[in-house]
């Protein structure tokens, strides 16, 4: 696991200037790879990596090349099936010089060309130089676990694991893309290639990009999550046990592969079913005690430590935790935005930033975590909500099923209160007549988010122009999208938007890698993804029981308290974090009238009114939307401050020692 960066322009010739630029780009992302650095230079091409050494600690230094010195790779991530691929390639006569998974990429590419991506089981982002074809190939893993960004500056192609690395390349422009922010205020993230910054592109998950001197870059998708057409018919009761057994086998295999490392592996334990399942599987796969890490909250409404403790006691793990309150979240929020590189709508990344610090301090640089189960096995409330809304749509006068709505968000008090039942009915009915069935599942959320756009300044609104976010999203949908059933479409929309753009990025890779910790995601092994996609819907959501099959498969292995608990979204203290003394200094600097006017995104009067409301209202009386608006405001202003106004062009982190360097006089 590492960070990579580089650039390509066949007209460049000054190797020493190239080296200086590359080293500056790598220094900027040194947090991703504190163990060592490696660089590759040739006239017109520079690429390198800062490395977090996990596999073949001594011999795995990058860059790694092939036997003839024509193919080189800078690699961020893990190829979990590297021993199997290596054995297969050795059988075909390939000679390996290291034991690192990185080298497998080289020989696999030699053997299969671009088709090699389909054989990789892993989480990765890499740049591979093919000197025979004079091509630079960039690729990213299937779900989008590891990040990769690029930009074109005249004839120079620049890439890196994080946007801040690209901004370190001379003359790359740092301006906010109104279309990017508009997408974030619709979907909670940008989609496709768009980022929060103009001209900076993201390589979307499951895509590769070929860059050459003479042709425009070519981007292609090499994998997608497919659902059967027609949908798998509902399972019968007698099929449940077998399916549960297969799910368990599939997850066990994924965990077994993901435990491969030459360093100890820990587990993030949230207290929910998913991370508890992972903890249980890890204890089955490896003998001995392992470390678990958790976030606890001062606020009992948010805290899940009781559940965490159940698992710790059951498996006798070496448990470590941090305890978080609004003041802690407020204090670290500028650092959070420095790492997310885009506005966020919740402060939930904050505690995970602190958790990765604790993890690293305890000598652990790899953790397994439970993300992905809610998408693949339909755990989110939106899946339940969608079933209820569809029922209502078909039977508008039924009074029976809507009562279940009350159980939908048990952590929101007004959902439990009988007094408000008719009100919820009114909300859920307001779009029942919508003809927009394509994205039916996501309409309430998108509509609610859109209210935040009324914070735009008139000038910024004019720059956003006609809202094109929805079209940008539609362009990313596969041809078969409309042939899937509505819950499958719901899942696809989640895996297109929130999962890669927020969960795996702002809350995932970026928070863990901020302290040099690699997250691994057994639920996102592509065999697990495909297996789950092939399942009939009634095994994922049975009546209104979410992740039904996962519960069936692990009911004997989880404490009843965890098995029976209702789902709760992971949240951390939101707006209240920004009125703490720990946040005061930066709040005065970046959310002042002058700062708001300078950034030009938001309307000062609207912001001022909202700040006053947040200060005057007890935290428990702030609405969901009040909180979201505050977090978006502060994070967008911080992103503008940190990246557009005050980007530290000169100073940056320290480059770890260069363990390997390859310099060619020609390519």
């Amino acid at each position: 696991m590492c960070g990579i960066a580089g650039f390509f322009n066949s007209e460049l010739a000054d190797l020493s200037a190239q080296r200086n630029t590359l080293e500056a780009m790598l220094r900027r992302i040194a947090h991703r790879g504190p163990d060592e650095a490696g660089i590759f230079l040739a006239p017109g091409l520079a690429m390198g990596a800062v490395r977090l050494s996990i596999v073949d600690l001594q011999g795995g230094s990058q860059p790694i090349g092939n036997e003839t010195g024509e193919i080189f790779v800078s690699f961020n991530g893990e190829i979990f099936n590297h021993p199997e691929l290596r054995a297969m390639l050795e059988g075909k006569g390939h000679l390996f010089s290291t034991h690192a998974d990185t080298e497998v990429l080289i020989h696999l590419y030699e053997e299969y060309g671009l088709d090699f991506l389909k054989q990789l089981n892993g989480q990765f982002a890499f740049a591979l130089w093919d000197g025979r074809k004079k091509n630079l190939i960039l690729a990213r893993d299937r779900p989008g676990i590891r990040p990769l960004f690029f930009t074109q500056l005249g004839k120079t192609f620049v890439f890196g694991s994080e946007i801040k690395s690209l901004f370190t390349y001379p003359q790359v422009r740092r301006t906010i893309d109104p279309a990017g922010l508009d997408q974030i205020l619709t979907f909670w993230t940008t989609v496709g290639e768009t980022t929060f910054f103009e001209g900076i592109h993201e390589l979307p998950p499951a895509h590769f990009l070929i860059v050459s001197a003479n042709q425009p870059p070519r981007m292609e998708r090499y994998w997608d999550c497919d659902f059967p057409i027609p949908s798998t018919p509902p399972a019968q009761t007698e099929d449940i046990d077998e399916a549960a057994c297969r799910l368990k086998e599939s997850l066990l295999e994924s965990v077994r592969l993901q435990l491969r490392a030459d360093v100890p592996v820990g587990v993030y334990l949230s207290g929910g079913i998913d991370s508890s399942v992972i903890t249980s599987l890890v204890s089955q796969c490896q003998p001995g005690r392992f470390k678990t890490f958790s976030v606890q909250f001062e606020d009992p409404q948010l805290d899940e430590s009781d559940y965490q403790q159940e698992m710790v006691s059951m498996h006798k793990t070496d448990h470590h935790f941090i305890r978080c309150g609004p003041s802690d979240v407020g204090a670290v929020f500028p650092e959070i935005v420095w790492h997310t590189e885009k506005p966020v709508f919740r402060t939930a990344p904050g505690p995970l930033f602190l958790l990765s610090k604790l993890t690293r301090e305890n000598g652990i640089k790899v953790v397994l975590t439970g993300e992905g189960a809610d998408e693949m096995l339909w755990g989110y409330d939106t899946f339940k909500e969608q079933k209820i809304r569809e029922f209502w749509r078909r039977f508008p006068n039924s009074s029976r099923r809507p009562l279940l709505l009350k159980k939908l968000f048990p952590y929101l008090s007004h959902y439990r209160d009988d007094r408000y039942f008719q009100l919820l009915r009114m909300f859920y009915q307001s779009d029942l007549s919508s003809a927009d069935l394509r994205a039916y599942s996501h309409l309430p959320r998108w509509r609610n988010n859109t209210a935040l756009k009324s914070f735009y300044s008139p000038e910024f609104r004019a720059r956003v122009g006609e809202n094109s976010s929805r079209q940008a999203m539609e362009k990313c949908l596969p041809p078969d999208f409309d042939r899937w059933n509505s819950l499958e479409r719901n899942q696809y929309l989640e895996t297109l938007t929130l999962m890669p753009g927020y969960l795996l990025a702002s809350q995932g890779d970026r928070m863990a890698m901020a302290h040099g910790v690699e997250g691994r995601f057994p639920f996102l092994d592509h065999h697990v993804i495909s297996f789950c996609a092939s399942l009939p819907g009634n095994l994922k959501m049975r009546r209104l029981c979410d992740k039904f099959l996962l519960r069936q498969a692990f009911k004997r292995e989880l404490p009843p308290k965890i098995f029976e608990r209702s789902k709760r979204a992971y949240m951390s203290p939101d707006a209240v974090s920004f009125i703490q003394p720990s946040a005061q200094a930066y709040m005065e600097e970046v959310v002042s009238e002058t700062a708001i006017r300078r950034a030009g995104i938001f309307d000062w009067k609207t912001v001022q009114r909202h700040l006053a409301k947040v200060k005057a209202t007890p935290a428990q009386n702030l609405t969901y939307r009040d909180n979201m608006a505050m977090v978006v405001l502060v994070s967008a202003q911080l992103a503008h401050h940190l990246f557009v106004e005050k980007f530290p062009l000169q100073e940056s982190g320290k480059l770890p020692k260069i363990a390997k360097e390859i310099c060619l006089q020609r390519i």
Partner: protein, 81 residues
Amino acid sequence: MSIEQEIRAYILENIPGAQNLSFQDEESLAGGGIVDSQGIIQIVSFVEQKYGVKFGDQEINEENCASVASFARFVRKRQTP
């Protein structure tokens, strides 16, 4: 100020972003994305306190809470002796 104007003023002051949206008194607050469900609850509390009326358990509904105008009608109905 009319009841409609007072309720509208409350919304503009208290619902994030509502001040920049233009909406008619009869327009659906929920359907137009002007307020979320917690926002309606805030308006209900405001109306109860300001006008000394009480919404019964089945009365926080489409008829009484859909729009600025429906809130105002509810208040007038209750205030009429």
